[in-house]
């Protein structure tokens, strides 16, 4: 009997402990948040997008009842772009059909909730590939173009360049065909418009041909990186994609050692032998264990860089199709522990300023004791088509994955530290990326985005009642509704 009582008591204690451990607001199932799990709020309702007519009616209903509308895809943005307190959230993930493929014209039309993986599956049999997208293919097309994403692709600017046209349901209830020639003023506003100019219903993307690449892995140093990049990567016409990493391993190589993954066209083998799309993501478990060690322990972090480097060097010379190279693993980075999270920030730095920036950033990270897990570097060609464009000149984008507590107190400290990095970014004539938690002050935002006035003035014109609303708008765009 005592044994049984003991077992029950132990179970009871475990339950209480779990309840306590998962009791934070970030774990509240009745609130809505995004991938960051920051600022969870109650919304009026979440509606699954099914039909165009339903969406038109929904918008009409929202306006009549003075409710705000926010648009959500995979909710991987991290700054409250996809929901707003007491408003309606339209979940676009079920609005995901491939509508039309034109292999000759190299175009595809998809509903905005389709993921890049859906698009890749549809076009791979035709030997076609996307011109540009993020490194991972799990996001929705509508979400990615609304943040005007970029990826490893070297020669196709940011995502806006791949968009041929789209249909936009604007706040006045009209469905507008938007392209560079029709309703053209909305094109650079809605792309990179964070869902504030309307609901993107479907999108026509221009495509390119699938190709076979050979991966080449190089070691370099931050100080030499711009010249290495210009000479060996950008200067080599066969290079198509590039990604680099900066060492965060404590010691000599800290914020200095780098390695680069370069994808160059390979004509020595046949694409047909490599163009089957991988269905499963391999090696999630060992990668996740390693990433957890990197996250949790100092020795784990020391190990991680070396292991990571050795792993990628073992991949040197491997062949991969463009479509497979554009489907990078992501599952190993998922993090579900209550109370804290991995938070992304991205800084865009002009190519030549990179070494100075990295050196100073390393000092800030160390002084502020920031828990920085990973930095990847991508190149973004100057592309100022979008009004809120971040690539105001040729830039390196440094995607930084921080680990931080979600508590108000710790977030306030984290914010102060990140503002120091943003100050540095602005001093170096760089910009920072807007889909992530907005730690920047309004002044910093205005300095980084010179055309923000134009953006918010257009918002007043197209949506004076702020029907399309989110926390990005609240923070930078003036008063909430």
């Amino acid at each position: 009997m005592f044994k049984k009582m003991g077992v029950l008591l132990l179970l009871f204690v475990l339950c209480i402990w779990t309840y306590w451990r998962t009791g934070g607001e970030d774990q509240n199932p009745y609130l809505i948040t995004d991938y960051s799990r920051l600022h969870p709020v109650k919304v009026e309702r979440v509606v699954q997008a099914e039909q165009e007519k339903q969406l038109v009616e929904l918008l009409k209903d929202a306006r009549e009842n003075q409710l705000t509308v926010s648009i959500a895809g995979q909710r991987h943005s991290q700054g409250g772009h996809t929901y707003y307190q007491d408003g309606i959230v339209i979940d676009m993930t079920s609005y995901n059909r491939v509508l039309d493929i034109q292999p000759e014209a190299k175009k595809i039309t998809v509903q905005a909730g389709a993921t890049w993986a859906d698009v890749q599956r549809a076009i791979n049999p035709y030997g076609l590939s996307l011109k540009n997208m993020q490194s991972q293919n799990i996001f929705t097309v509508g979400g990615s173009i609304s943040v005007n994403a970029h990826g490893r692709e070297l020669r196709n600017g940011s995502l806006i360049q791949s968009v041929d046209s789209f249909r936009l349901l604007t706040a006045d209830g009209q469905i507008r065909e938007v392209s560079r020639t029709s309703n053209s003023e909305l094109f650079p506003l809605a792309l990179g418009g964070y869902g504030l100019f309307g609901l993107i219903l479907d999108v026509t993307l221009t495509l390119t041909e699938d190709e076979l690449y050979r991966l080449n892995v190089d070691r370099t140093q931050a100080a030499a990186y711009p010249s290495y990049f210009r000479q060996n990567v950008l200067g080599d016409p066969n290079m198509r994609m590039h990604l680099a990493r900066i060492s965060l391993q404590p010691g000599e190589g800290y914020f200095s050692d780098m390695y680069a993954l370069n994808y160059a066209i390979d004509t020595e083998a046949s694409l047909q032998d490599y163009n089957k799309m991988s269905v499963r993501e391999p090696g999630v478990l060992p990668a996740k264990i390693l990433f957890n060690l990197n996250r949790g322990t100092v020795w784990g972090r020391e190990w991680f860089w070396g292991l990571q480097q050795r792993y990628f060097e073992s991949q040197d010379g491997t062949r991969v199709s463009r479509n497979n190279a554009m489907a990078s693993p992501s599952a190993f980075m998922e993090y579900h522990q209550p109370g804290n999270n991995d938070l992304l920030q991205e800084y865009f730095i002009p190519v030549d300023t990179f070494p100075a920036f990295v050196e100073e950033m390393g000092e800030i990270v160390s002084q502020e004791k920031l828990d920085l897990l990973n930095i990847t570097v991508r190149y973004v060609e100057k592309d100022d088509e979008a009004v809120l464009s971040y690539a105001t000149q040729d830039m390196f984008g440094l995607v930084c994955l921080f680990h931080a507590s979600l508590s108000d107190e710790e977030q306030a400290k984290f914010k102060a530290s990140l503002q120091k990095i943003i100050d540095l970014v602005i001093r170096m004539k760089g910009t920072y990326y807007l889909p992530y938690q907005a730690y920047a002050t309004t002044e910093q935002f205005e300095q980084a985005y010179a055309r923000q006035d134009e953006f918010f003035a257009a918002k007043e014109l197209y949506d004076p009642e702020h029907t399309f609303m989110n926390y990005f708008m609240e923070q930078y765009g003036g008063n909430s509704k």
């Binding site: 077992v7 029950l8 179970l11 475990l14 779990t18 996740k288």
Partner: protein, 180 residues
């Protein structure tokens, strides 16, 4: 009659099933876009279990222990296979196998409980059996949640497979230590 082995082995089996079951439901739900598709996977499981019971029933008294072993091994196989399958039709096939294993386990367990107890004196041992199997399930679910948060659902499938194998070994060993 000593039925400790039954309590131990089946606690191990409920530990294995309890660890994966609630998360397995989520896993299945993610496979389909609709609740109907999710429902179908379950229907297949229950139909398979019901159909198997009719074939198993006449042989139950003779083979109960053997089926306990086979059901655990079958479940272990299914658990190992789950992370590797990439199409819904395979999910349905595994649901059929799991339905068969479920029928073997549930029916054998009941028959053995009856065999090892006497009419009029069943309350206590059945209560004891229920306590340990349910408590095992409780631990399993809590540990399972922690493990998925840290690692992946695949780990849970494999761990569950190990526990199922352990459960079947416990039954098999009792075969050699008791007269049945």
């Amino acid at each position: 009659m000593n039925m400790k082995w039954l309590v131990r082995s089946q606690s191990m089996v409920t530990l294995a099933s309890g660890m994966i079951y609630p998360y397995y439901l989520l896993f299945l739900k993610n496979l389909g876009n609709s609740f109907s598709k999710y429902g179908l996977a379950f229907a297949v499981f229950t139909i398979s279990s019901a159909a198997a019971s009719q074939w198993l029933a006449p042989r139950l008294d003779t083979y109960a222990k053997r089926w306990l072993i086979m059901s655990s091994l079958g479940m272990a196989g299914a658990m190992i296979a789950f992370p590797w399958i990439t199409s819904y039709i395979w999910v349905l096939l595994l649901q059929v196998i799991m339905g068969l294993c479920n029928a073997m386990q549930r029916m054998s367990e009941r028959v053995l409980l009856a065999d090892y107890t006497e009419p009029g004196k069943r309350g206590k041992p059945v209560g004891n059996y229920h306590f340990w199997t349910s408590a095992a399930s409780g631990f399993a679910v809590i540990i399972g949640g922690l493990l998925i948060d840290w690692l992946t659902i695949d780990v849970l499938f494999y761990l569950s497979a190990l526990l199922y194998i352990w459960g079947s070994v416990s039954v098999w060993r009792s075969n050699h230590t008791t007269n049945q």
